[in-house]
């Protein structure tokens, strides 16, 4: 008897929660079919040598991993990837943070204008942006080069120069990403109580200290979100200018992990290598996510 009641009670709880599962079904189904199945397929492919069309896939065990991990090019591309990350973080995280702070807290005029104008490019296609920038930044014939020419300056031949190419592609990417991050950070800073800032001003605390010691910690939840999203999303965004402008060149100097996975799969058709690189990329991303959960999520509680 009592066990029967117990079971029924248990079922009752489940009935309450069943709706929770039901609500998740659409997402789970879609992700299962269009994300997780492809993911497992990719993991599977990373153990094969295959060019996507030949009927036979040759099982090669861990050789793809060995190949990729011993290829010096992988490390070059890894280095590029980190360079992109650093640049994109500076341009799309640090700069908009400071901008948002100054516009919201320091300035009194033109706030609305700056917000609208800076957010605008976020709505435009990055393909369009990439084509435009290739044209605008043509080191010989572009408008910028001509204007520079008037004052006797030369634009570096960025499309073919290691280092510069990454800088310019990062700038092109930032053109699109900047405004979105800026608005998010602005919103977060805007949400900080003015009393706290005014109080600090009364104590004659310099602006940079207010920024570092009040604004930064109090908006850190958004900051962290922008930080992570910059790393993950921007690297995927960079794909577009890389593909349109440089195709990873010169000599892989502008390739990153995501473009390289594309290059291996769709230019030289080495599916196995591509899959392996994708898996490694994801492992790196997940490590980042894990670190974020472990160290950062805890620290940002006091905001709410």
């Amino acid at each position: 008897m009592s066990t029967l009641i117990l079971v029924r009670e248990k079922l009752h709880i489940n009935k309450e929660n069943a709706l929770g599962y039901i609500l998740l079904i659409p997402s789970i189904v879609i992700f299962a079919v269009f994300t997780f199945w492809p993911l497992f397929y990719t993991v599977y492919l990373s153990f094969f040598d295959w060019n996507m069309i030949s009927p036979s896939k040759e099982f090669v065990g861990l050789r793809n991993y060995f190949d990729v991990l011993t290829d010096p090019r992988t490390y070059q591309i890894l280095g590029n990837t980190f360079l992109y990350i650093v640049l994109l973080l500076v341009i799309n995280c640090v700069v908009p943070y400071i901008f948002a702070f100054v516009i919201d807290v320091v300035l009194t005029r033109l706030k609305g204008f700056y917000k609208s104008a800076m957010f605008l490019p976020a709505f435009i296609s990055l393909v369009v942006g990439s084509i435009l920038f290739t044209w605008i930044l043509n080191p010989v014939s572009g408008p910028l080069a001509i204007i520079f020419g008037w004052v006797g300056l030369e634009i570096p031949n960025w499309t073919k120069t290691e280092g510069w190419i990454i800088v310019v592609l990062s700038i092109i990417t930032s053109w699109k990403v900047f405004g979105y991050n800026f608005i998010l950070l602005y919103a977060s800073i805007n949400g900080i109580s003015r009393e706290i800032i005014e109080n600090a001003r009364m104590d004659n605390i310099p602006l940079w200290r207010i920024f570092l010691q009040i604004i930064l910690p109090m908006s850190s939840a958004t900051g962290i979100y922008v930080f992570i999203i910059t790393i993950v999303q921007s690297l995927q965004y960079v794909f577009t200018p890389v593909k349109v402008v440089s195709q990873g060149g010169p000599d892989y100097a502008s390739s990153n992990l995501i473009y390289h996975a594309y290059h291996e799969a769709f230019v030289v058709f080495r599916t196995g290598h591509s899959a392996t690189i994708s898996i490694i990329t994801m492992a790196l991303f997940l490590l980042l996510l894990f670190l974020e959960f472990k160290f950062v999520e805890r620290r940002i509680y006091y905001e709410n």
Binding site: L19, S27, I30, F31, I136, L289
Partner: protein, 274 residues
Amino acid sequence: MKINRTAEVTWHIIFFAAVILLIFPIVYALGMSFKPLEDAYNNVLNIVPFQSTLENYITLFDTLPVLRITLNTFVIATVATIFKVVTAFLAAYAFVYFDFRGKNILYFVLISTIFIPFTVTMIPNYLIVSEMGLLDTVWGVILPQLADAVGIFLIRQSMKNIPLSLIEVARLDNTGHWKIMKDIVLPLVRPAVTSIGIWFFISTWNEFVWPVLIMKTTDNYTLPLALQMFISVEGGTNFTVAMAVSVVTMIVPLALYLTFQKYIIGTFTSSGIK
């Protein structure tokens, strides 16, 4: 807040420079689209064309069924956005207001999809779409984009900012979950949902790698694909027509943005994405 005058002027100069950098390409594209190609090559500096011409637009409209293509793009972006927002909303609701076995793991798993590069899913998804016979159809483009973990993440964040007591009061009145969703939660997370929706719409609108793979006939093109038709390294890019396509591509997002500018910035600002 008071700062000294020179500092303020300096900041304004910096921001003006930034705004010019950000806006210039858009203005430039607009100018180029009204120039003859020859002019675009030889007079790069005059952004406002000497002799403006509609030729590029005429070429574009002669070559492609632009309205049809715009409609395709619109349909794809709208349907994908609606599905993404709805699935994300439902999932976020489940994660915030239910307690069930495996919830945290499930959340982590779904969120981790943000980190999967699209190169991973492209080919298998192509196979699925092809298997379903949806190549060269709008649904073929839409289907893999029906859910988005970023949406789940952001809407969940926003729901977590609603005091739980609001939901509890409703539960005490024996209000069903569907009604709570509709009458209480949705109105309260509307800014977040709207801003995320706008964001999804814009990204789908501008997407190009995936539609290129799926679409074949011109009638089914989306705008970013139409742009590709005027870009060729071998035959030379018809830059000014390409810019005309770009302008057409930009019109909807720009119109959206400029019309609802205050509202959009407002929703992004108050969406409580924290």
